[in-house]
């Protein structure tokens, strides 16, 4: 078991290395970079002092070196102008656009992103699982039909549209400020209790909006999975033993229907970071999504590179987690049987 996990971690490291090369190559694909673009801009405006500073940055970050050297310096396998200082050493680089270290720019946004999306995730599961169970056990009843129609509506309504509508009414009825994850007056303030309260109040709308599409999709999938399992003979066996219906349902078919969702964790984790870009833009949430979009547009290479690598790492970690949970959950996988 330990050996298998170690082997997985090793392949993960190799995968990450390959991904980092791809990410870097893609970021470097368009001609020029943030700084050369800026220098051209400044030159045309004749700001010599700023040009000098930009050229200093170019040398400082080795942007005048060949691309493969830049790559090796970035991941920390080759000494740069400031010695070994790359991703491997925990130096995430400099954001040229914000003129601050990437860690500072991303810092708050990263965990706010996780908070928003985790809230959405919890919301999805709390709402979807009971509804799916109800819908599967009351198949072809009026209740099932209502849930199904609501599910389709939830799938079909674009998140950003719903976000605008909800923001409008939240403002009118509850006096919430439009946009953001806390009231504008708290910006830049330390995290104290009123700010957390403000955060919790502002979380409701994004959670609902981000979660709604996922909830609808999850109800549909969970219902289909459960219906398959409910028709299996072992469900009948459980009833024939005299198990109360709910207990029989949760112990046997429900547990069987969980496997596909566990297998999905690998896709879910990166989605936490990059999935809600559109909604974040509309709601002007201070999350990573909009930052990534900006960084890609302005070729802010270390910023974009770091966020993409972070998402890749989350994907791999998610895959590992889902595999480990599957092994724990399903003895057939544990024993290597079919």
């Amino acid at each position: 078991m330990t050996i298998a996990v170690l082997r997985r971690v090793l392949t993960m490291a190799v995968t990450l290395l390959v991904i980092s090369a791809l990410v870097f190559a893609i970021i470097k694909l368009p001609p020029g970079d943030f700084l050369t673009n800026r220098i051209m801009e400044l030159r045309s405006m004749g700001e010599a002092a700023s040009v000098a500073k930009a050229e200093l940055l170019i040398r400082q970050y080795g942007l005048d070196r060949p691309v493969y050297e830049q790559y090796l310096i970035w991941i920390g396998l080759m000494p740069g102008p400031a010695g070994f200082s790359g991703l491997l050493q925990g130096d995430w680089g400099w954001s040229f656009e914000y003129d601050r270290p990437v860690s500072e720019v991303v810092g708050d946004a990263l965990w706010l992103t996780l908070v928003v999306n985790l809230a959405a995730l919890v919301f999805v599961h709390l709402v979807a699982i009971p509804i799916a169970i109800y819908s599967a056990t009351h198949r072809h009843t009026a209740g099932d039909a209502v849930v199904t129609v609501l599910g389709y509506v939830g799938l079909a309504v674009p998140g950003f549209l719903l976000a605008l509508i909800l923001l409008f009414y939240a403002n009118i009825w509850f006096g919430l400020s439009i946009g953001g994850l806390y009231d504008a007056s708290f910006t830049g303030k330390p995290w104290d209790w009123p700010k957390v309260q403000s955060l919790l109040a502002h979380l409701a709308v994004p959670t609902l909006v981000i979660g709604l599409g996922g909830t609808a999709a999850m109800i549909r999938r969970m219902r289909a999975n459960l219906l398959d399992e409910l028709a299996k003979p072992y469900t009948v066996t459980a009833r024939a033993k005299g198990l109360p219906p709910l207990r029989a349902l949760l112990k046997y078919p429900f547990r069987m229907s969980l496997n596909p969702f566990v297998a999905d964790i690998g896709n879910l984790l990166p989605h936490l970071v990059s999935g809600s870009v559109l909604v974040s833009l509309v709601l002007s949430l201070p999350t990573v999504g909009p930052l990534l979009l900006d960084a890609l547009k302005s070729q802010d290479q270390f910023m974009a590179g770091f966020i993409l690598m972070f998402v890749a790492l989350l994907t791999l970690v998610g895959m590992l987690i889902s595999d480990l949970v599957l092994v724990w959950l399903d003895p057939r996988i544990r024993m290597g049987a079919r």
């Binding site: 078991m1 198990l243 547990r255 069987m256």
Partner: protein, 613 residues
């Protein structure tokens, strides 16, 4: 004495999306204490519906519209039909008063929970036992049903067990609360004959020990003749005959039961005697055609071996090696049938897959002769391989899983022709001819598989195999998934098609009676080796090998004059180390084939060879 269970005028209706229909038309029958009542009938006769009604686990679309099911709980009779199906009163009866075992021991056990958990569960619900108490009793139950290591069984998952042990686990689960009535719905249909005999022996023994009543649902009259005390015959939701076993079986009054007795292959059939299907099929058999003139076998399997390497149990252990097939040689004579018989795990399906070139042998060759001389199948490539694919076709065991539910019958039948470049017009004409050949209406070509019964689907499977006008058909258990009432139809159809089209069959089955009916030559396989090979008549006249004898002895015969000897079914028969001399084989010993009469070969051990030398 009052009956334990008395079904009175029971009527069950199915509603739902399809046309409403009545599954049971006022059924009345009594199950007496300590006796076994066999409920016999074909699929759709209402026997499973009866079982489900007794436990109130009917499908949602079914309702009990009239009648009573009186069950004597020991404190007076309760009308089960009047109880709410998931209420506490009904749940208390389930498991504790009436327990049930099912046909498919694999799918009826949850793969995610240990059998110790699932067996002990009933105790924890009904008797409020703790996990530890339940484990102790579950262990006793495993010992009672014959688990080799009951303590280990507690922590075993169903997929780690053989089919026979799974069914034993189901029985342990049903009997742990010592119910007064056991409802057994086709408990042995999915098992090998030898395992079936063991399970039947177990049920009989447990009945003697506990005095429980058994309601045994089956379509196998051989099983009925061996374990039932009373028999009730259902036909289209009505009771057509009932009474003590001897009276009903010896002197069947209803034509349906008479027909059923003649629709299953038996060993005492006269040479050339045909089965009489319950409902005659109207297949249009094409005019006879001579088989291709080939000297020698059309297909020769020469010293073929196959070893499977399994991933080890836990992560990182050494891989396990299974010798699935060891040095098997067989000849298929053109226009004749070779039967390959053995228990599950004996390697017979692996052999058929190597013939199909679905698996590559680790040693040995498969030679196919299309009239131009024998050629190694596994060395074929390109156009030759394409031609071989056309010449050898496969009929699968499960007619439900082997037809794509999203394709119409026309698509299913024309797809092979499309792949092999047969023109559109010819394809359509041939599809209609194929339908007629297997006795189906050409009008049904546009329908999807779900619209057909199991027997009809198997006909479609046969038609698909014949689409490319093959020379050899490999039949893997062609009727074992089918209802008894249609087995005869399919077997007769296969025989007629063979005679007309000059086909060569390789039929693989664990059912000796089916092999006996179909095959000209029979090879018996055990643990990957052929232990006996002989012309049909010689093998059944003189079954010398202990394994062959054990297989034969385990087949339940529908006539009351040949009862199974339950004391003889021990499970030792498949261990070559326990065979008597001269058949005994040491572990990994190959032994050698000895011809005991013309064409009759039996495998002997090395000890025999040393004595001869």
């Amino acid at each position: 004495m009052s009956p334990l269970l008395s079904i009175q005028n029971l009527q069950v209706d199915f509603g739902g999306h399809g046309a409403p229909f009545r599954a049971l038309h006022g059924l009345s029958l009594d199950v007496m204490r300590g006796r076994t009542l066999a409920l016999v009938g074909e699929s759709g006769s209402g026997k499973s519906v009866t079982a489900q009604a007794i436990l109130r686990i009917l499908p949602r679309v079914a309702t009990i519209s009239a009648g009573r099911i009186l069950f004597d709980t020991g404190r007076g009779a309760t009308d089960i039909a009047a109880l709410p199906p998931d209420g506490p009163a009904m749940r208390a009866i389930r498991g504790a008063g009436i327990a049930m075992i099912f046909q498919e021991p694999m799918t009826c056990l949850s793969p995610l929970h240990t059998i110790g958990d699932q067996v002990g569960e009933a105790l924890r619900i009904h008797g409020n036992a703790t996990r530890a108490e339940a484990d102790v009793q579950a262990r006793d139950a495993f010992a009672r049903v014959g688990f080799p290591d009951p303590a280990r069984a507690l922590h075993t998952y169903p997929f780690e067990l053989s089919g026979g042990l799974r069914q034993r686990a189901m029985i342990a689960m049903a009997l742990i609360l010592k119910p007064a009535l056991l409802v057994a719905d086709e408990p042995t249909t999915a098992l090998d004959v030898t395992t079936q005999a063991q399970i039947l022996a177990l049920l009989t023994r447990l009945q003697d020990e506990t005095g429980m009543a058994i309601l045994l649902i089956t379509h196998d009259l051989g099983v009925v003749a061996n374990v039932a005390h009373d028999v009730a015959v259902l036909y289209r939701g009505r009771l057509v005959e009932s009474g003590p076993r001897g009276a009903v079986m010896r002197d069947p009054g209803h034509p349906y039961l008479k027909a059923l007795l003649h629709a299953v292959p038996r060993f005492d059939m006269a040479p050339g005697e045909r089965l009489t299907p319950i409902r005659p099929a109207r297949a249009v058999i094409p005019p006879a055609r001579r088989p291709a003139a080939i000297d020698g076998p059309i297909l020769r399997i020469e010293g073929v071996s196959k070893i499977f390497t399994l991933r080890s149990g836990r992560f990182g252990g050494p891989p396990r090696v299974v010798r699935a097939v060891s040095d098997v040689s067989l000849d298929l004579v053109p226009g004749r049938t070779l039967g390959l018989v053995g228990e599950s795990g004996s390697g017979k399906t692996t052999v058929s897959k190597m013939v199909m070139r679905a698996l590559a042998p680790d040693a040995g060759r498969v030679l196919f002769d299309d009239g131009t001389g024998p050629r190694d199948v596994h060395a074929l490539a390109g156009a030759d391989l394409f031609a071989y694919r056309r010449a050898v076709q496969f009929v699968f065991q499960d007619p439900y899983a082997s037809l794509d539910p999203r394709m119409t019958v026309r698509q299913i039948l024309t797809e092979p022709m499309e792949i092999h470049g047969i023109g559109g017009r010819e394809r359509r004409a041939r599809a209609e001819a194929l339908m007629a050949m297997v006795g189906l209406e050409a009008g049904a070509l546009g329908r999807y598989p779900h619209a057909f019964s199991g027997g009809q689907r198997q006909r479609i499977g046969i038609a698909r195999a014949l689409a490319l006008d093959p020379k050899v058909l490999v039949l893997d258990e062609p009727v074992s998934a089918l209802d008894v009432s249609v087995q005869a139809q399919i077997l007769n159809l296969l025989k007629d098609l063979q005679a007309a089209l000059g086909l060569t069959y390789l039929i693989v089955s664990h059912n000796l009676a089916v092999i006996d009916y179909m095959a000209d030559t029979i090879a018996v396989m055990c643990r990957g080796r052929i232990v006996g090979q002989a012309p049909k008549a010689a093998l059944f006249r003189n079954p010398v090998h202990p394994y062959t004898r054990a297989l034969l002895a385990a087949v339940p015969d529908p006539s009351l004059d040949h009862p199974l000897d339950f004391s003889a079914v021990t499970g030792d028969h498949s261990d070559p180390g326990r065979w008597p001399e001269p058949y005994r084989l040491a572990p990994d010993e190959a032994g050698h084939m000895v011809e005991i009469e013309p064409g009759y070969h039996v495998r002997h051990g090395a000890a025999d060879a040393r004595r001869a030398a």
